[in-house]
Symmetry: C2
């Protein structure tokens, strides 16, 4: 027997020593796919048509791309811009650029050229990988980018030799020339891997960046939640994913990485065309896709939509709240819908609205749960707080701001300490979203902080009103914004795109009657939330990522409304609480 050997007891170390293989880098996903799923098919559309290859072939090309970028002078931590649609070239860059130690910077090509020049200038992009559709764009901005050394063009049969003084190379030539021999370096998990800019409805775009570790954890967590949270839904290596979320938008919500990790078959549709997407969904037997509500609307309202079988599909909605009317329409086509929530700063996923086993009625009441903003995915802590950072009651009614902590929240706005400090006040990241907290732990966003309507000191949720109005049979699209009011400060006004040829025209009176009958009298919304006015419009203004641009809408409506509302006080406005 022993006993006193340990009297000078050393104890365990404060921190576990590091060993090879302990780091979390994107290469782990690449190696997993090579080890388990080398033969999984990747389908992609080019200007020549639909083609396909395997992951192991893509992996060889990723090595060649890394070697080529290195030869073009891309070093550790150097940003590489992509200006591309959803292509297999983009996918190869998604993995190769971070794995070689450089920084992937997908540029939102929907922004104005001046914003793109600002973003690419601030990021300091060294090389730009550019779809031929954006050669004119890069030509316009390149003179302002003194860090840019070369342009690599994809999906092009021919191209100019130089653009704004920079050499131009064809991606396929580079990959052919640099075949074989590249060795991926060992990387620190905490080095930046990718960056993106918020679309910036207010002020200049803000840069966010994420390390390898952040992306790895984000993707594992989202995959784990999608796979395990609900007994009624799952993802697996048996899925085929169609990449609809633009790859220039928050790393395509991490889905290309997620598909690599899980071993899904992937379909890259190039430039989004609803007719092509419908055909790909049917012919390639797509089981999973994701996007903003607009794209779902386009898929369902396309003239040929009914010709295609969409019944295998699950659609993960993000970017904006999914209107119930649209969700029901999708459900009737056999599409399962799930809502996700996040933002550029959070890489992006924070919550997913997948009902878990504890909600025993969720099998039947899928939409009631799936239209929530959702429950936090693993490792995310979410709180809904009042202005003093105290959690609001979990009563499904009290509104507060969503604040979060997660291992993948961007540490700062790039080169903007002031906005960083504001976002991180109190040790939590402030999302700027207003939500209620349900007793079952889910949150439900009711508005952006800047879109909420502050009427007489109380809050009116523009998105809840939109959701209700969207179910009127003659409403195609709706946006509710605040208009200035001399007595109540702000009152809600609805801009509506009417359905053509529909008999109950959605006028102010008709919408107020409809809401009164279906919502107010049933206690679903308070009477004082009724919009003061409906304005019929041909279309709604949108941001570069397809969200309704409420800032622009408010500006457009301002002039016609001020006068009317000032004259209407006594008649249509209801005192609060009535």
């Amino acid at each position: 027997m022993v006993g006193f050997w340990w009297s000078a007891f050393p104890g365990l170390p404060e921190r576990v020593p590091w060993r090879p293989g302990h780091s979390l880098t994107l290469r782990a996903f690449y190696e997993r796919a090579l080890s388990l799923f080398p033969g999984v098919e990747i389908v992609y559309r080019t200007s020549r048509g639909v083609e396909r290859y395997t992951f192991s072939r893509a992996a060889e090309r990723m090595k060649a791309l890394a070697a080529a970028l290195e030869a073009l002078g891309v070093g550790r931590l150097d940003p590489v811009a992509t200006l591309d649609w959803n292509t297999h070239w983009h996918y190869e860059a998604y993995l190769a650029v971070p794995m070689m130690g450089a920084v992937l910077h997908p540029v939102n090509i929907r922004l104005a050229p001046s914003e793109i020049a600002y973003i690419m200038g601030q990021a300091g992009d060294r090389v730009a990988i550019v779809h031929r559709d954006f050669l004119p764009l890069i030509e316009a901005v390149a003179p302002h980018l003194d860090q840019l050394r070369a342009v690599v063009v994809v999906d092009a049969e021919s191209h100019p030799d130089r653009l704004a003084g920079r050499p131009v190379y064809n991606y396929e030539d580079l990959v052919r020339e640099h075949r074989g021999g590249y060795e991926w370096p060992e990387l620190d998990e905490n080095q930046p891997a990718a960056m993106g800019y918020t679309s910036g409805t207010t002020g200049l775009p803000k840069g966010a960046y994420h390390s390898h570790r952040m992306i790895v954890l984000h993707v594992m967590s989202a995959a784990l939640h999608l796979a395990t949270a609900s007994p009624w839904f799952r993802i697996s290596s048996g899925d085929t994913i169609l990449h609809i979320v633009p790859m220039f938008h928050v790393y395509s919500w991490g889905l290309p990485y997620l598909a690599t990790l899980v071993g899904m078959r992937q379909v890259f549709p190039n430039k989004l065309d609803p007719g092509v997407l419908l055909r790909l969904i049917d012919e390639e037997q797509v089981t999973l896709t994701a996007g903003v509500p607009t794209i779902l609307y386009m898929l369902l309202s396309h003239p040929d939509s009914e010709r295609y079988d969409l019944s295998r599909l699950t659609f993960i909605n993000g970017g904006s709240a999914l209107p119930r009317g649209l969700a029901e329409q999708a459900t009737r086509r056999g599409i399962r819908v799930i809502v996700g929530y996040g933002m550029t700063e959070t890489a992006p996923v924070l919550t997913l609205a997948l009902p878990h086993a504890g909600l025993s009625d969720a099998g039947e009441r899928w939409l009631d749960y799936a239209l929530r903003t959702g429950w936090p995915v693993p490792l995310v802590e979410v709180r809904v707080v009042d202005e003093d950072m105290n959690p609001v009651p979990r009563d499904g009614k009290t509104m507060g701001e969503v604040v979060v902590r997660a291992p993948w929240v961007t540490p700062e706005y790039y080169m903007d300490p002031e906005k960083t400090e504001k976002a991180w006040r109190g040790g939590w990241f402030h999302t700027g979203d207003i939500a209620v907290w349900h007793p079952d732990g889910s949150i439900e966003i009711v508005d952006r902080e800047k879109d909420i309507i502050k009427s007489g000191g109380e809050w009116i949720s523009s998105t809840r009103l939109e959701d209700a109005i969207s179910r009127h049979p003659c409403v195609a699209e709706v946006a509710v914004v605040a208009a200035y009011h001399p007595k109540w400060q702000e009152r809600p006004v609805a801009a509506i795109v009417p359905k053509p040829g529909c008999k109950d025209e959605p006028t102010t009176e008709e919408i107020r009657r409809y809401l009164m009958e279906n919502y107010v009298e049933k206690g679903a919304i308070p009477k004082w939330w009724l919009p003061d006015k409906v304005v019929l419009v041909r279309e709604l203004p949108r941001t570069s990522v397809g969200k309704i641009d409420k800032k622009k809408l408010r500006a457009q409506l301002r002039s016609i409304l001020v006068e009317e509302l000032q004259g209407s006080t006594g008649s249509t406005l209801q005192p609060i609480g009535s």
Copy 2:
């Protein structure tokens, strides 16, 4: 337009700055369960019978336990020993001890008291949480543990006030006294969270330890693989797990943590009793469990087995290879079997044998894939290498040692730099297991390095021979070990427990005939692998965790074999390659 603003370009930081919420600690699993699954049921058996509570109640008790341990003097990084069966008390300690910043140390109560004294002495355990069944054991070893301050007893109506000079408390009294008010501290993810000792078939037990980060990543990866790798199997919040893997054995393979993360209903059976386990599986509608082959054998061969419905169950096998005969028997009862592989040093999971979508025939040929050692789970890199660390061909034939890298491999053997250096030579952790590597990326362990039979410079896999012999209709159990041979150095000898009353007694001649007809003539094993001798035995020696103790068996067989083999040379031995 902009342009030259960034000529003094700062670039991205080398490492992403740290923010609150970026750390990976076990508290994330606890918070997730509280947020999503507070009402999930936990079923547990005590000496009073089967009882149940919810996770949120367990969480309150975890806080009280942490407060109580703090009051007993447990500080940061102090090890807390558990000597307990699979109980809800053990589960509470599994989470509370690491979350308070202390180190969980589950002690293998199957070891000899002298080994337990050695282990607990080296670990420096401050408090021991002890099931009443082990009060005599702790009384015997406590005099040798100068760090031990107190004993906390569970599942006991009464207990002595003191044991070997240390105060003894009842767990339930402590939890009642310390209710409310405890706040979990913020922890560094790299601080040690738990430790365990290898069962040590050679020499003294070796200590391994794991940080919060390691356990979190291990559990997320294993869950992700179980959930997504196969289209034919999944885990979800709809599962009910029965904890059969002893909680003193490698953190119960991480399954209590995994169940917390995924939101599974959990069943803690206390001391393992096959009759009770069968009843719990049926009555509690258990869908998932795990264990060594011996426990599966006990469940299937129990006299009352057929009375219970086992058809909802998936059994994850680990610890030893699952013999095909046993797997087929389980399959006939409607049990799905999956094989996992790992070790104490790796927390433990490295691979799981879940066929993925790319193996299109896996739906029908489940067992052919599920009996492999498996494919690496996410973030694990596995190689099968020769003695110079070169990967062997992926041909399903060439044997080599399994070496691994993963973010959760223990960085060192506690207080043993020499063994640490040997294990980590060449920057890879050496498992000491011999495997072949299949073209599909899966590995198949054919032996422990120390169990492989080295005959004339070539290797014979003892486990492959065991697998073949186990399918003989009159063989209940079998172990194949090396016996010394003057010409070939080693030759295989089989120790067999025969099935009682079976007519074809598995003698040397019968087994050689059986193998010749069913394996050698079909090309499944080479002729020179045929065992030189069969020894019929009443039972096989086992280690403390239920594995067959080949070291002891070799010793037992040595005396009777040397003479026989020396006399048998010309007759039964076949030249290599014949």
